[in-house]
């Protein structure tokens, strides 16, 4: 029995490690991706040397170095678990060397590692803080080793090692205890899957969820728009979020700015894509964000600014994770971004506002084939129940160009305009191509607001509150 008891601490620590890994890997994996994307680590001597200008430089360096590998599946949870286990083991052994009870040492070690794991629930808590704790635990363990041999030497060792340790490891950040933010995790999940290009997965995640956040709906719509299906799915979730009513200002949260960057990129506005990417950078860890580095390289490549694109590609060359991506863009960028390049606006106008409606009009005036911008502009009008502007935009970009966009949603909205303006039979025939819609419209008029018509634009128009802008 005594022999088994000897292994209890090891068993407890291993079990704790398994729980920790499982939680972070299976319940919180997208937080790691967020951390990885929200920093930039360069394998360059001048960049690395910068770390040592700050107190705790070594901890910051190791933390940021390891964080870049969060890009790979399972690695985030593995790195974090190993770091926390090392802290636990070092603390446990140190306390044992100081002749505290093994059980007390075990409980305290597990409490400390659990507290640190809880700190990692927060997006602003960085791995470097845990590395800093690990560094101090190593110091404690060394002192404990000396202590067992010679107490005086241990005290002398402590005095000698304190300042260098402070310079290398600094003081760890401490967070107030918080619950895991599983809603944010869901937001990160759709955001990351969108970023990784797993559009089908985004749709499945949102449609399979029982609760939706604005962020989830935003990415759902963004995916649908790029597949030409925004009008087919716009009213699937209400209230729905397009992002076209946001404007970026000094108080806009970083995540919103980053989402706007994705929206502008999808729409094809490279001026605003670059602006939102720069702004996201400004509010990222050390004003650097690897995801935005990629985007800045991409948008400058698309807009034909090869010098600016090369600036960012050179930076990415120095990363251990994205160097191949940078190479690929250099070699195959023209074919990868062929569609985007074709949609670039070559007309110069100037505006003092980042009003998305105006931006989309500019994009469509330059390229009427920009279906993503077309659906976003029409759907934005419809969300606001602005039938007059919807009709104006529909005429300008669909009827005048002789490319009517025959989507059920638009046909339903056109019925409202035609009915409200006492349109002639000719006009009805010109706009409404679907007999089903026409018949359904007549039925709806007899039963306005009937939940049976939920999902039609008529029901939205009558019953659902439009977003306030």
């Amino acid at each position: 029995m005594k022999t088994i008891a000897k292994y209890y601490p090891t068993i407890a620590i291993v079990l704790w490690g398994l729980c920790c890994f499982s939680f972070f890997q299976f319940c919180y994996p997208y937080h790691f991706f967020f951390q990885e994307q929200n920093q930039l680590f360069l394998w360059s001597w001048d960049y690395v040397a910068e770390y040592f200008n700050k107190t705790g430089g070594l901890a910051l360096l190791i933390g940021d170095f390891l964080t870049q590998f969060y890009y790979f599946l399972y690695i985030g949870a593995t790195i974090l678990t190993i770091c926390l286990l090392l802290i636990g083991v070092l603390l446990y052994h140190s306390l044992c060397k100081f002749r505290t009870s093994r059980w007390f040492a075990l409980v305290l070690s597990l409490l400390v590692t659990t507290f640190l794991a809880v700190c990692h629930f927060s997006t602003s808590y960085r791995l470097s803080s845990t590395i800093s704790v690990l560094g101090w635990m190593l110091v404690l363990w060394l002192i404990a080793m000396l202590y067992t041999k010679n107490k005086k030497r241990a005290i002398l060792g402590l005095v000698c090692i304190l300042l260098p340790s402070y310079l290398l490891f600094g003081l760890p950040q401490v967070k107030t205890i918080q619950k895991p933010d599983l809603i944010l995790e869901k937001n990160f999940a759709v955001d990351c899957e969108y970023y990784f290009g797993n559009h089908e997965k985004v749709i499945k995640m949102v449609e399979g969820s029982d609760k939706w956040t604005d962020e989830m709906i935003f990415f759902y719509n963004l995916v649908q728009a790029q597949h030409g299906q925004l009008p087919d799915n716009l009213l699937k979730f209400t209230p729905t979020i397009l992002g076209t009513f946001y404007q970026i200002g000094p108080d806009t949260p970083m995540l919103t700015i980053r989402n706007m960057n994705e929206l502008y990129w999808a729409l094809g506005d490279m001026t605003f894509t670059e602006r939102a990417a720069m702004m996201t950078n400004v509010f990222s860890h050390n004003n650097r964000n690897v995801r935005m580095m990629k985007r800045l390289a991409e948008c400058n490549f698309v807009s034909g600014d090869s010098l600016a694109a090369e600036k960012y590609l050179r930076i990415l060359d120095k990363t251990l994770v994205y160097d191949k991506w940078a190479d690929m863009v250099r070699k195959n960028g023209k074919s990868i971004y062929r569609q985007k390049i074709a949609m670039v606006n070559h007309h110069d106008t100037i505006t003092i506002s980042d009003n998305a409606h105006f931006l989309m009009m500019q994009l469509l005036d330059a390229n009427p084939d920009n279906t993503t911008a077309l659906d976003y502009i029409l759907c934005s009008d419809l969300l606001l129940k602005d039938i007059t502007n919807f009709k104006r935009d529909y005429d300008r970009y669909c009827m005048d160009t002789q490319k009517p966009r025959l989507k059920k949603l638009y046909q339903e909205a056109l019925c409202i305009w035609l009915a409200g303006s006492d349109a002639t039979q000719e006009e009805w025939q010109r706009y409404i191509q679907s007999n089903d819609v026409l018949q359904q419209f007549m039925q709806y008029n007899d039963q306005r607001g009937n939940p049976h018509f939920q999902g039609t634009y008529w029901y939205y128009f009558d019953k659902i509150k439009a977003p306030e802008i």
Binding site: M270, M278, V282, N287, K311, K318
Partner: protein, 468 residues
């Protein structure tokens, strides 16, 4: 002892392994070095021009005078003492520089270029603001001071000490470190005036761009309502214009503001004022107001001047036009009064995002205009400041990537001829490649400013001195 021996052996082993050129093949092209230091004129007191070769090379050899530098990789980093000695030995001379690189197992010797080492020194310090090129929002802004004779940097405005506020340009009076001013924005902000290291906070209403009079008693400044606007053409990016702007003079002794109807005409935009070195004129830019933003391309600023009496503080009553044709920004008169350097752009008042923005120089004695072809690039070249001896100026250029401004130094010889400029050297040649901040509004100074970040933070807590 054993560890030290191992380290020494390892260092010796590594250094002995640096290959030296053999079977060299001569190339008829200049080496693709970055920053571009080929055929530049440099002052005798500049820090080592460390550079890298934009090639996938295994080793590099650089021969410059008595220096023969051999290194693995593509970076040429000079020893500070050897560099200083080299410049001392060759001051006033032209030095040949030969770069040989080991590429794909073959040593290639590039065409020799030269460094002309001017005997005229440059002011040893520059101050600049480090900020992302998109100026609409900010985070972690710093104003730094760098000694150009070495690589020492100190912060004189740091976000950590100043509640992450926005800070604007730091400007010297006559390049004198004992008289200078900078702005710290936001609630409770103001102009921080440095007089021999004593800092005070001033509330000069609406002041944006400013310049000191030679005596330091006055500053001339502009007030503007700044509007950011966006171009739909991605390569043009941001435009900034003034919805209104006027020029004033502030008496720093009596804390009063002096105005003139000629400098605050509601039908004109007046901006970028600066005193002449004798204090007899205020040079500034003036444009007829147009409907903005739609008529931005018609917004043309002229270079004008108005007389000023430093004894009485009176502004003259006649405005003379010196230059018109393209839109002028940032006029700066050389301390010897011979030249006026300014930026020209196709239109507007914010040349930072105008790739066509170039520097030009008027000889105030002859009226001749130098378009400074050797100085300008395909991207924005602007925001300049003179060295106290009038032989050097620094300016911010976006020539490398069109986005991030870097300080470039240009030599003006005794005949008024401009030489090819060079970029501020850095300790690590990869610095600019990795850097994601613009060097904004570089200003040359004769010495180190006698205050630091903590002094600025303390000054910020003081009550601002109001101006009447």
């Amino acid at each position: 002892m054993r560890i030290i021996s191992i380290i020494c052996v390892a260092i010796l082993f590594l250094s002995s392994c640096t290959p030296s050129p053999q079977d060299v093949v001569k190339q008829d092209e200049l080496p693709p070095i970055y920053p571009d230091y080929c055929d530049v004129t440099i002052p005798q007191n500049i820090a080592p021009l460390n550079f890298l070769l934009r090639a996938d090379c295994e080793a590099i050899e650089v021969k410059a005078g008595e220096i023969c530098l051999n290194a693995r990789g593509n970076e040429a980093v000079f020893d500070m003492d050897e560099w200083k000695e080299l410049l001392k030995q060759h001051t006033g001379e032209t030095l040949d520089v030969t770069v040989t690189a080991l590429i794909n197992g073959q040593w290639k010797e590039y065409k020799t270029f030269n460094w002309q080492i001017a005997a005229d020194k440059i002011d040893p310090y520059i101050t600049y603001r480090l900020i992302e090129p998109d100026y609409e929002i900010w985070n972690n802004v710093q104003i730094q001071q760098r000694c150009v004779e070495n690589f020492d940097i100190s912060a004189i405005g740091h976000y950590e000490k100043l509640e992450n506020r926005c800070m604007n340009c730091h400007t010297f009076a006559n390049q004198d470190p004992n008289l200078s001013m900078m702005y710290v924005r936001g609630p409770g902000g103001g102009a921080i005036l440095n007089k021999n290291g004593q800092l005070s906070k001033l509330n000069i209403p609406g002041s944006v761009y400013f310049g000191f009079s030679p005596s330091g008693r006055y500053i001339t400044y502009s007030t503007q309502k700044i509007i950011p606007a966006f171009h739909s053409l991605a390569s043009k990016r941001l435009e900034v214009y003034d919805a209104a702007s006027n020029v004033f003079v502030a008496d720093m002794q009596e804390h009063r503001v002096i105005s003139s109807p000629l400098l605050s005409d509601s039908l004109k935009f007046e901006t970028f004022p600066t005193f002449s070195p004798d204090g007899k004129y205020i040079y500034y830019c003036s444009a007829d107001s147009v409907s903005l933003p739609q008529d931005i391309k018609q917004l043309q600023y002229k270079l004008v001047r108005i007389s000023f009496n430093e004894k009485t503080g009176e502004i003259g009553n006649k405005v003379d036009t010196l230059f018109a044709g393209r839109s002028v920004c940032h006029p700066r008169v050389s301390p010897d009064g011979r030249f006026i350097l300014f930026t020209v752009a196709d239109y507007g008042t914010f040349p930072i995002w105008h790739p066509e923005a170039d520097l030009q120089m008027i000889n105030l004695q002859t009226g001749a205009i130098d378009t400074l072809t050797i100085v300008n690039s395909q991207k924005s070249d602007t925001y300049h400041s003179w060295s106290s001896n009038s032989r050097w100026f620094v300016f911010a250029s976006k020539r490398d990537d069109g986005l991030y401004g870097k300080p470039y130094f240009c030599y003006i010889d005794k005949d008024g001829k401009a030489h090819k400029p060079f970029c501020l050297p850095q300790k690590y040649p990869t610095f600019y490649d990795n850097n994601l901040k613009s060097f904004n509004a570089p200003e040359l100074g004769k010495g180190q400013v006698p205050f630091d970040v903590d002094d600025v933070a303390k000054a910020m807590k003081k009550d601002a001195i109001p101006f009447k």
